[in-house]
């Protein structure tokens, strides 16, 4: 194989990790929510809010504050979702879609030039004029890891990335451990399978679902902020382009397992990276339209799948997923 071809393949692989990290962070959050029995269709909205907040706060106060603000925004959205679906027991599909619509609207609003300017000046009156008008923000710096960065291919994929890429991998492992090896994780999984029994065993079903949904909201927003400051720091309205819905499908593909989500995320990321690079080469011009449609197809397929009892049993859907719990 020619050197050019090898380099091209390596660039696709690196791109797979970079694009896939969006999916990974989002699906990790969604896995916790769904394992506890709450379906979060608001993922797309949480992501776009995360992207918009990181856009504004980075330009006002820099990356550190931006991440904090994003986590706070995600926490609030997660709380809102759990209040409506867990405490008020509203339909999870309706609430989730409402949050997505709300998020898309909010994202558009925050992206508006005048409003953005106002918020940035409010946060930091000394912000340089340039930061008030640009449609972009400073990208998160790459942090190459000594020695490891020089490993061929793997070095580029995993050891010359920004902090959020590393964080997402660590999170996947830690969240897997918590889910399967700790008391909290066992309670979380049990609540998702049989809330009434868990309640009788002394587990606080509502607390577990609130915690999981808040974690999900925070990670959803974080995924959106990675998409912006970690991957494509140019603001475009609706820039999540259905990635939140793709993450939902990924959760099923990963059978609600954080470690399997890593593989799935990079696979989906690979498709995105490949498509981008093929377009540059002028191949497959129709592909983008098709890919834009994908999230919606995937979502409908997901919902249909989740409603078929026989399928639910076979792929191991958490048994109480989508069903509100009430003590008689």
């Amino acid at each position: 194989m020619s050197l050019v071809a090898v380099e091209w393949i390596e660039s696709v692989l690196i791109g797979a990790v970079q694009a896939g990290t969006v999916f990974l962070i989002a699906s990790l959050g969604e896995i916790y929510a769904e394992r506890s029995g709450v379906l979060n269709l608001g993922m797309e909205g949480m992501m776009i809010v995360g992207a918009a907040v990181s856009f504004i706060v980075t330009n006002a106060l820099g990356h550190g504050y931006a991440i904090l603000a994003v986590l706070l925004a995600g926490l609030l959205l997660g709380l809102a979702h759990s209040f409506l679906t867990v405490s008020l027991r509203l339909n999870q599909i309706v609430v989730g879609l409402a949050i997505t619509i709300l998020g898309l609207g909010l994202g558009g609003l925050l992206g508006n030039a005048a409003i953005r300017r106002g918020i940035i000046l409010f946060l930091n009156p000394e912000a340089p004029e340039r930061n008030l008008i640009v449609q972009e923000a400073e990208k998160l710096p790459d942090i190459p890891i000594p020695f490891l960065r020089d490993i061929p291919v793997l070095g580029g994929m995993f050891f010359r990335q920004n902090g959020l890429v590393y964080l997402s991998l660590i999170l996947a492992i830690v969240m897997w451990f918590i889910l399967f090896k700790t008391r909290f994780g066992l309670s979380l999984r049990s609540v998702g399978e049989n809330p009434a029994m868990s309640d009788a065993m002394g587990i606080n079903v509502f607390r577990i679902r609130y915690i999981s949904m808040v974690v999900c909201g925070m990670l959803g927003a974080l995924a959106g902020s990675y998409l912006f400051i970690g991957y494509q720091p140019f603001w475009v309205e609706g820039m999540t382009q259905g990635r939140g819905f793709i993450a939902l499908a990924l959760v099923i593909l990963a059978t609600w397992n954080p470690l399997r989500a890593i593989l799935g995320a990079y696979l989906f990321g690979g498709v995105e990276a490949l498509q981008f690079r093929l377009q540059v080469l002028g191949v497959a011009a129709q592909l983008p339209q098709f890919l834009l449609m994908l999230p919606y197809i995937v979502t409908i397929a997901t919902l249909v799948l989740l409603s078929l009892e026989s399928v639910r049993k076979r792929i191991g859907v958490p048994a109480s997923l989508g069903k509100p719990y009430s003590r008689e």
Binding site: K181, T182, R183, F184, L186, S187, R189, S190, E193, N194, A196, M197, S198, D199, A200, M201, G202, I203, S310, K313, R314, G316, A319
Partner: protein, 510 residues
């Protein structure tokens, strides 16, 4: 001699549900070291009384003492911390979790990081102590009903239960598993635990219990040492009248098969092959018994025979008409009645008793004119059926989900036997599960009556005595295959028992 400590004392417990007095100043005491049987007809209030002790319901009146101290039990959490454990009729386990995970869920003493090595070791010891053979690392869905029950018991014991309530535990067990369970119960009693055993099977009560309490219409009628009573007296106390014995007459069947299946292959819910190449013929006026330990493909087989499950290969003929993979409505129309194992799943719990009775026959011209349902006939008919089948319900308009276990079963049987005028085949899975003596007899009589009218009946049961009493022919299933077939003259407990463990019919004879 000092008399043993009172673990539980319930005094004048009254519990009222809309339209029903489920417990009518009932009293109950449980002593340390005893197995105490709680008897009573369907709807007598046994489950309600024990649910109150377990904190699932709060009584309207009455007092509860545990180890001599007056207590308020506000929920299962309180009950568990008082050392009370309960195994319900429907298991409350998570099939996709391991045995160990199911046992320790919610337990506080395990530490944040779960050390499964240590936990499993501790559980293995407990399992060995009771002479069981489950592994802490198996997934619960892989277990038999009897093993799941062991997990439920372990779950209670692990939380330090001293008072163990078992609601009709033997209704899901094979005869062998029942023997094992009873050994366990005796062992627990000898260790100083108190065990409450709810059951309808008088022979079991006689065999395993130390004392018996009989309930009738919400009241506790009498408590007696088991030694000082007998089956006949207990039956009389429960029902308030003498029972007659059912006599099964020899088969009058023959001619063309009414149901014929050949080369059936059927998948289970997980997509695994549950039935591998089964062929059978059912004749008019015949009761064909199907024996086997549950989970050997029987459930899948009968679901296919009533059109609720697709077959992967093979053919089903009903009266010579091909029915393979036709919708279940066609099976209903052609006269196939189905009495399912989990009757609760086959009722619409939020609909009324009357609606449930006509759930499958509302298309019948008796009940509907064009698209309209003739409610007057429905309620008249429902009232009659409720009386005929002795369904204990406040009214035909009450929610079916609130009936007691046995009454739900009666409701389903009533619905199926009144399906339509030309019933050709009845497929009955554990039809007397959860029924009291009188209703068991009633159901068996109904099945025999149907047979005499020329209906072909497939009877699935884990109660070999029932199978022997009713069947004209028995087939035994093991791992998705028929391992043996016996005509009535050759029925033999040991023979069938062996075949149920996979020994082929031919080898048994030799």
């Amino acid at each position: 001699m000092e008399s043993p400590e009172k673990l539980v004392e319930m005094r004048s417990i009254t519990k009222r549900f809309p339209g029903v007095l489920a417990n009518d100043s009932a009293s109950f005491t449980l002593l340390r070291g005893e197995v105490h049987a709680l008897l009573g007809e369907n709807g007598a209030g046994k489950t309600t009384l024990m649910n109150i002790l377990y904190g699932l319901y709060t009584p309207d009146a009455g007092e509860i003492f545990v180890r001599g101290r007056r207590v308020q039990i506000r929920g299962p959490k309180d009950a568990i911390s008082l050392g009370i454990g309960m195994v319900h009729q429907q298991f409350r386990l998570i099939p996709t979790h391991t045995v160990a995970e199911n046992i320790i869920v919610g337990a506080r003493d395990v530490g944040f990081v779960l050390r499964f090595g240590r936990i499993n070791e501790r559980l293995s010891e407990l399992i060995k102590y009771y002479g069981w053979s489950i592994s802490p690392t198996s997934k619960v869905w892989q277990l038999t009903a009897g093993e799941k029950q062991q997990v439920e018991i372990l779950k209670a014991l692990y939380r330090g239960a001293e008072i163990l309530i078992l609601d009709e535990p033997t209704s899901v067990l094979t005869p062998q598993e029942t023997v094992v369970l009873f050994q366990t119960l005796r062992k627990m009693a000898s260790q100083g635990l108190g065990v409450v055993l709810i059951s309808h099977k008088l022979d079991e009560v006689m065999a395993v219990s130390d004392r018996v309490t009989v309930m009738r219409r919400g009241r506790t009628i009498v408590t007696k040492p088991t030694r000082e009573t007998n089956q006949r007296e207990l039956a009389f106390l429960m029902v308030g009248r003498e029972l007659s014995e059912l006599e099964a007459r020899p088969m009058a069947a023959g001619g063309k098969p009414v149901l014929e299946a050949s080369g059936l292959q059927i998948l289970d819910d997980k997509g695994l092959l549950a039935v591998k190449n089964i062929s059978l013929r059912l004749f008019r006026g015949e009761i064909l018994g199907v024996a086997g330990v549950s989970g050997n493909g029987q459930e899948e087989l009968i679901e296919a025979l009533v059109g609720l499950r697709k077959v992967r290969a093979g053919k089903i003929l009903l009266d010579g008409v091909e029915m393979t993979n036709r919708p279940s409505a066609d099976f209903i129309r052609e006269g196939v009645a189905y009495i399912p194992a989990e009757s609760l799943r086959y009722t619409a719990a939020d609909m009324t008793v009357a609606e449930n009775i006509i759930l499958k026959s509302y298309r019948n011209r008796r009940f509907s004119k064009r698209i309209f349902i003739n409610w007057k006939t429905v309620y008249d008919e429902a009232g009659k059926i409720i009386k005929d089948f002795n369904i204990v319900t406040p009214s035909p308009f009450s929610k079916a989900g609130n009936l007691s276990g046995g009454n739900i079963q009666r409701l389903v049987i009533a619905r199926e036997l009144n399906l339509q005028d030309n019933i050709k085949v009845i497929v009955a899975a554990y039809p007397s599960k959860g029924l009291d003596v009188a209703s068991t007899e009633f159901v068996q009589r109904k099945l025999v009556e149907a047979r005499e009218k020329g209906v072909g009946i497939i009877l699935l049961s884990e109660d070999l005595e029932e199978l022997f009493l009713l069947s004209d022919r028995i087939i035994v299933m093991y791992r998705g295959e028929i391992v043996g077939e016996l005509p009535r003259q050759q029925f033999d407990l040991e023979k069938v028992g062996l075949m149920m463990t996979g020994v082929k019919g031919a080898e048994v004879k030799a």
